[in-house]
């Protein structure tokens, strides 16, 4: 018998499972869809409604607080550039999606990492799942997301959460495991409860690593949100996609440049919080 003739219908099975889920869990998907949708709308409005200059001023202030006046100035100028390229609305929409997706990815990923750090069996189980989530081509997530949630921003955010969550869980686990065992023991030896040791000793000491994980989550979320733009999530992804389909290099470039500006801003801000955390713990 030739191995090529054997056809294991994994694709069929996945189809069947997705069908079953859509039929039986429709109430759950609708609920998630409603909650996510209103979250996204609210944040989008908050970013798009004020005059661009006001939003830019706020972003520049954040930049100043996180780093220094140079970065603040860079932020003001580069976001100003986005406005002048006519990409402001799209950029703020993308930013809203990135923020919602990364906050939820962090809220899911960090606790998973905490459990994994404390439980060897859970860790062994979680690791291959995370590997799978991270190496599966990001496009593939869009298919079930669209099936469950239809076209639009919600499936984009769901796919983004799945795709960007792994480093949050992974680096949280790593950070917690790296905390000096003797220091944890010192917490224990004086009668602290496990919860107190976690919040007062382990998490503060793991914070630089956890922040590095959060930084990666945000960067992955940005890349995925752009891809999701292709399937109706809107924002800068849609702009880039329009540029591609019309062979309009200029439009594609403007969209792409705006993505880069967002990426630099998000990376530098979260990176700064990470190094602030580490300067405190390594003192």
């Amino acid at each position: 018998m030739n191995l090529q003739d054997v056809r294991i219908p994994i694709g069929d099975w996945v189809d069947a499972m997705v069908d079953w889920l859509t039929i039986n869990l429709v109430w759950m998907f609708d609920g998630i869809s409603d909650i996510l949708g209103s979250l996204i709308d609210a944040l989008e409005t908050a970013l798009q409604f004020p005059p661009a200059l006001v939003t830019i001023a706020v972003l520049a202030l954040i930049a100043l607080f996180a780093r220094n006046w140079k970065f603040s100035l860079f932020t003001a100028l580069s976001f100003g550039l986005i406005v002048t390229m006519g990409q402001w609305e799209a950029a703020m929409s993308t930013l809203a999606l990135v923020l919602v997706a990364s906050i939820l990815a962090v809220l899911l990923g960090v606790p998973l990492g905490i459990i994994a750090a404390r439980n060897q069996a859970f860790s062994a189980l979680l690791r291959p799942v995370l590997d799978f989530m991270q190496t599966m081509p990001s496009f593939v997530y869009l298919i079930p997301a669209i099936i469950f949630f239809g076209i639009g921003k919600v499936p984009g955010v769901v796919a983004t959460i799945v795709f960007s969550m792994p480093p949050g869980a992974r680096l949280t686990e790593l950070g917690l495991r790296q905390v000096d065992a003797e220091v944890v023991e010192a917490g224990e030896a004086f009668g602290a409860s496990p919860a107190k040791i976690l919040t007062r000793v382990q998490i503060p000491l793991a914070l630089p690593t956890i922040m590095a994980g959060i930084n990666q989550v945000i960067m992955l979320a940005l890349s995925m949100v752009v891809i999701a733009g292709i399937v109706g999530a809107g924002g800068l992804g849609a702009e880039v996609f329009r540029g591609v389909t019309r062979l309009n290099v200029g439009l594609g470039f403007e969209g792409g440049l705006s993505v880069v500006i967002l990426a630099v801003f998000l990376d530098r801000v979260t990176g700064a919080f990470g190094s602030k955390a580490s300067s405190r713990t390594s003192k």
Binding site: D180, E182, V183, E185, A186, G187, E188, A189, F190, G191, A192, S193, K196, V201, P204, L205, R280, T281, S282, K283
Partner: protein, 413 residues
Amino acid sequence: MSLIQVRDIHKVFGRKADKAVEMLKEGQDRESVEAATGTTPAVIDASFDVERGEIFVVMGLSGSGKSTLVRCLNLIHRPTSGQVVIDGIDIGTLSPAELRALRSEKISMVFQHFGLFPHRTVLDNAMWGLEVRQVPMNERRTRALEALRLVGLDGWEDSYPGELSGGMQQRVGLARALATDADILLMDEAFSALDPLIRSEMQEQLVNLQQELQKTIVFITHDLNEAMYLGDRIAMMKDGRIVQIGTAEEILQDPANDYVEAFVQDVDRSRVLTASAVMEEPIATILRREGPKAALKHMRERQITALFVVDPNRRLIGAALDDDVIAAVRSGSGKLDDILHYDVLTVSPDTPLVDLLIPAAESRLPLAVVEDGRLVGVIPRVTLLAALGGSHRDAMEDQNAAVATATPSTGVE
């Protein structure tokens, strides 16, 4: 009742721990149990008591199970079998909350690499045990500051551990342990990571603090000199088992087996042993009223060249030397008083041998060991030298000869 009672504890790491303990109890040796079960028996059948106010040292090479043993005392490691009784309570039976209360009130711990919280100030570190116990903030501060003062760190409370030297960091560790006012202090190689100079400074500080505070201390070390210096009693560990428990002198003078004997060979005896450990029965004595003729007779019979002169209560009066005695007999003097040397060098029973060397070199007589004015022993120079060389037991067997030859015959009048 002893404050800490450890009863037959085993601690085996690994999944078949219970099976391993069973095999160990059947008398199988550690290697074969390890091979058969794939476990690590870290502590095997340890039993001992620690008295209130005592410094109990656990001493052994790296990997001998000391850290594991000490962590069984506050159940950071739960013994695979056996009991730990603290202040009458079998702590294995406590609920998690009761165990935490015990740790925050009765037992505190000092760690080899200090185990300080790098993200908290010195003061916040020192307050940790009180914070855990939810002591009100004001009291927390006062008590932590007091503990920092005790260890000599006043003025450093706002620094971070990373800004301090190793010795100072360990003082923070000590302050954190003292601040909770726990009776029991577990110190796992607390000074091992420090430079030798800082280390002996810390040892002295601990001894001084102990005189003031009277804690019950279980001190772990792999350094025999440290063990001998600090320990009221010492437990010697080897491959998970306690092979001997005793005072420094007992272990030095009477090692339980070849292992301990080999171990203690290099120890600085002159600092550990005291006069009382090496002194001989004072047989070369004579009562003052007996007179020169009797003295000469004594000297001839025992073939010795000097006598300590005492009163009926064994109070030391002085010493008589052979040539003086002979001269007195020839001149017909009837009294010892005229020829007595009153400048006999005396030492107390708890003087370390190191402090006997100069007196022994300067004196023509054996050193007189005197307690409350009474002559309780003598130390001939040969005995002292033999004890420092580690062959004290041989010297004991020849004690008469030693006494006889102790006095140099070339003394200056």
